[in-house]
């Protein structure tokens, strides 16, 4: 229910003042998700795979992760999509660890790293903050996820 806490907090006048927010008197309450936008969304690309190919060629560091208890954009959806990039494998599938526990599994491809996060839903850092932080540290450091 954490979302409802935000709905309260960011509609407080003193919070908006402290954040220099809503300075033009927006004619609707602050809300976590805009129904108007999602209902009227126009152009949406069918696939991001061509863009991934372009950005891999541009030499960017690309990590994709999946919380494995999400059923909205689940781990099998992402794996099935990434599979169609046909990237050569650099480091084969292995479990990664944090705090002496399996944090998930990972595989490193040429141009992209994929990792699952065990026990995490759609908002991975909400459900598994420590595992998400380890993932972020490895990504920033350009290192493979810990093998123990």
């Amino acid at each position: 229910c954490t979302e409802s806490y935000a709905e309260k907090y960011y509609n407080r006048k003193d919070v908006q003042k402290a954040m220099h927010a809503n300075t033009t008197g927006i004619p609707y309450k602050w809300t976590a998700c805009s129904d108007v936008l999602i209902k009227n969304w126009k152009d949406s690309e069918n696939s991001m795979l061509p863009t991934y190919k372009y950005l891999i060629a541009a030499g960017l560091r690309i990590w994709v992760f999946s919380g494995d208890t999400d059923s909205v954009v689940p781990v099998t959806a992402t794996r099935f999509s990434l599979n169609h990039l046909n990237l050569p494998i650099k480091t084969r599938w292995y479990p990664w660890y944090t705090g002496g526990q399996v944090g998930g599994w990972t595989e490193v491809y040429k141009g992209l790293t994929f990792a699952t996060v065990r026990g995490a839903g759609h908002e991975v850092p909400l459900f598994q903050p420590k595992r998400a932080f380890t993932l972020f540290q490895s990504f920033l450091g350009g290192k493979e996820l810990p093998k123990s």
Binding site: E7, M19, N40, V64, S71, V73, T78, Q137
Partner: protein, 261 residues
């Protein structure tokens, strides 16, 4: 840079004392339509001048990075149950980086447009374009972040926003000498990637995780053509049955968590 100081947050209501700086405010991305995007910067807890800049985008489309990314995922604060105070997130990503949360596109959260028709025709293209303009203008306000190691992070429909913005930046950098946005990479979670393969993978997950019956699984595979622009009514019926008669009262975003009552 004067505007930067006007954007400084001295302390949020109910916030514990912290050692890092934070700023928030608006950057206009389209004068003609009056579109302005709201950002919130929480700098790194130590040596912010040495740490990378990470832009976080939530998805939706239409959802707020302040509501999710900042307030319940990677940001330094969590909101308490009565929304009367904030407490610290032990695993905040601002231990390692300067975090920039952006409410995008206009119409999300505190970001606004003075042209109400904008709310009816947002899409991937304009969102990416406005986000690039935001970054270029934001870096004029915070020149210390020009040329700094820069990453983009996000989740869900930001599986579109993040690579699309990355591509805009790569193209912009190719067209300008000595480009100020030093994009090194991006990281996305539970990201919308490919409509066809995502759909097949999603139904597979529902079946392999015993959320739907064999009968429903077969019915969805039989009636749904995932490469079609629009789902058939038979497909809609099969998925509707799954969600309303087999999923049960779960939080689909975290299947072992009961729904929030």
């Amino acid at each position: 840079v004067k505007q930067k100081e006007l954007d400084r947050i001295w302390a949020l209501p109910g916030q514990p004392k912290v050692g890092f700086s934070q700023f928030s405010g608006y950057v206009t991305v389209n004068e003609k339509h009056g579109r302005a995007l709201f950002y919130w910067l929480t700098e790194a807890t130590s040596f912010p001048e040495k740490k990378p800049l990470v832009l976080w985008l939530n998805g939706g489309p239409g959802c707020s990075s302040v509501a999710y990314g900042a307030s319940e995922e990677i940001g330094p604060f969590r909101i308490n149950k009565t929304a009367s105070s904030l407490y610290l997130n032990k695993y905040s990503w601002n231990r390692e980086a300067n975090l920039l949360f952006l409410e995008s596109p206009a119409g999300v959260g505190f970001s606004y447009t003075n042209t109400s028709s904008d709310l009816k025709d947002s899409g991937d293209k304009r969102t990416a374009q406005d986000a690039l303009i935001f970054l270029l203008r934001w870096m004029s306000r915070f020149p210390e972040y020009k040329y700094r190691e820069f990453y983009i992070a996000g989740e869900s429909y930001a599986g579109h926003y993040v690579p699309q913005l990355a591509k805009k930046i790569v193209e912009y950098n190719k067209a300008h000498s000595n480009p100020i946005i030093n994009l090194k990479g991006f990281i996305v979670g539970n990201a919308v990637t490919d409509n066809y393969y995502d759909s097949i993978g999603t139904v597979t997950f529902w079946w392999t995780h015993a959320i739907i019956s064999d009968q429903t699984y077969k019915s969805i595979l039989k009636n749904c053509n995932f490469s079609a622009e629009k789902a058939s009514s038979a497909c809609d019926d099969a998925v509707y049955y799954a969600m309303n008669h087999e999923f049960g009262d779960i939080d689909q975003y975290s299947i072992y968590t009961p729904t929030c009552t």
